[in-house]
Symmetry: C2
Subunit: 201 residues, 2 copies
DNA sequence: GGTTAATGCAACTGTTTGTTGCAATTACGC
DNA sequence: GCGTAATTGCAACAAACAGTTGCATTAACC
């Protein structure tokens, strides 16, 4: 009993409940936002009693952190056509798809409200987005090797600039994001990259 | 009594209390964040009883909205040198200064997080940024007239792309933002604009 | 099939949010 | 100044919520 519940008998109903609670947490985060998400609302949605959630996760922060970690395997498609403009466009559309998905929406909403008060949640979110930023590295490296981009182009910074306008629409202007917006973001970052904006000395 | 308090006798102590509460609200938002800011904490800080705040503002959302509206006078410097690259750079540094100011950073995070649960706060957010986005219009129009930018360039969209990377650093990656970052954002948006990314058909 | 971990349930405590009646204070017209 | 009514302070209150605990029930694992 010194160990938290769910460790000694992790199969059967325990695993089922864990999955249901994680899914309910993400849905609540996406629909209602971080501060409107309560342990009770998650338990109700998951069809589980609140004491079960309290006993296994202890706090809302850990619950949110684990739920977001469980989505880490959701991947953005990595394009590999060799056409830089097309690859960036595909990547941008992938970012758009993540941003507008249930998981992505939950991550974004948690990012701006929950991460302020919880270092634990903030750390998970950093890991979450860092894993997605690396997607662009091979694409950029090949373009540099082929001479289609200037040598020394910082692929991580390029990826941030690819995603930034899409985040901006979601977070700041609260506008919808469609494929046309993703295409524009890709075109903008391509022009900037060709101009050497992302070249690190 | 059908009207909210503070309208019939707006002078004297009423005005003094209103100013104290607004100032306390901004301070709380800056120090503790949106969800940690409560009406009671604001009242305590302002040296006013909580019933006064409840009776006059009714909800936390209206209180926050009014407090943030009071900061709308903070202006970004409008460059006018005629050098497009330099003007964009100056503008980007102005955005950076707003984003990184003590009150500004908290205000931005508050706007973004509060806007997700409160349409009223969201409206303040839109108005706030709409007033700043227009800053770039004359600069872009002159550049288009001089042939330094393609005809049909959307100045509002350009301004969003100028600000997006700076917001991204503050909100998503939680990285510090300095003048070098602002300069890079300006260079990126200039390259994109010259490539015709912001041309509307 | 037996044991025991995990869960459901209800009842509880403590905290927070928001309200209300009433007395004290004070802004504003005269 | 002065009277009156709006505003505020105060205390007490109701309601909602967070989090805990004891105990009975269920079911995972040997």
């Amino acid at each position: 009993m010194s160990q938290p519940p769910g460790t000694a008998r992790p199969g059967g109903r325990t695993a089922q409940n864990r999955a249901a609670v994680v899914e309910a947490t993400l849905a609540e985060l996406a629909e209602r936002g971080y501060d409107q998400t309560t342990i009770e609302s998650v338990a109700l949605r998951a069809g589980v009693h609140k004491t079960t959630v309290y006993r296994r996760w202890r706090t809302k922060e850990r619950l949110v952190a684990e739920a977001l970690e469980a989505t880490a395997e959701v991947q953005i498609e990595v394009p590999d056509t060799g056409d830089l403009a097309l690859d960036l466009q595909t990547l941008a559309r992938g970012v758009r798809a993540v941003l507008t998905s249930t998981v992505g929406s939950a991550a974004v909403r948690t990012l701006v409200s929950g991460a302020q008060s919880s270092p634990e949640v903030a750390q998970v979110l950093r890991t979450f987005w860092a894993g997605r930023l690396t997607k662009v590295i091979p694409i950029v490296e090949r373009a540099v090797a082929d001479g289609r981009l200037p040598p020394g182009t910082d692929s991580i910074e390029l990826m941030k600039y690819l995603a930034a306008p899409l985040f901006h629409r979601v977070l700041v202007t609260a506008e919808p994001v469609n494929d046309k917006d993703a295409d524009r973001a890709a075109a903008a970052v391509l022009a900037a990259a060709r101009a050497g904006v992302f070249v690190v000395i």
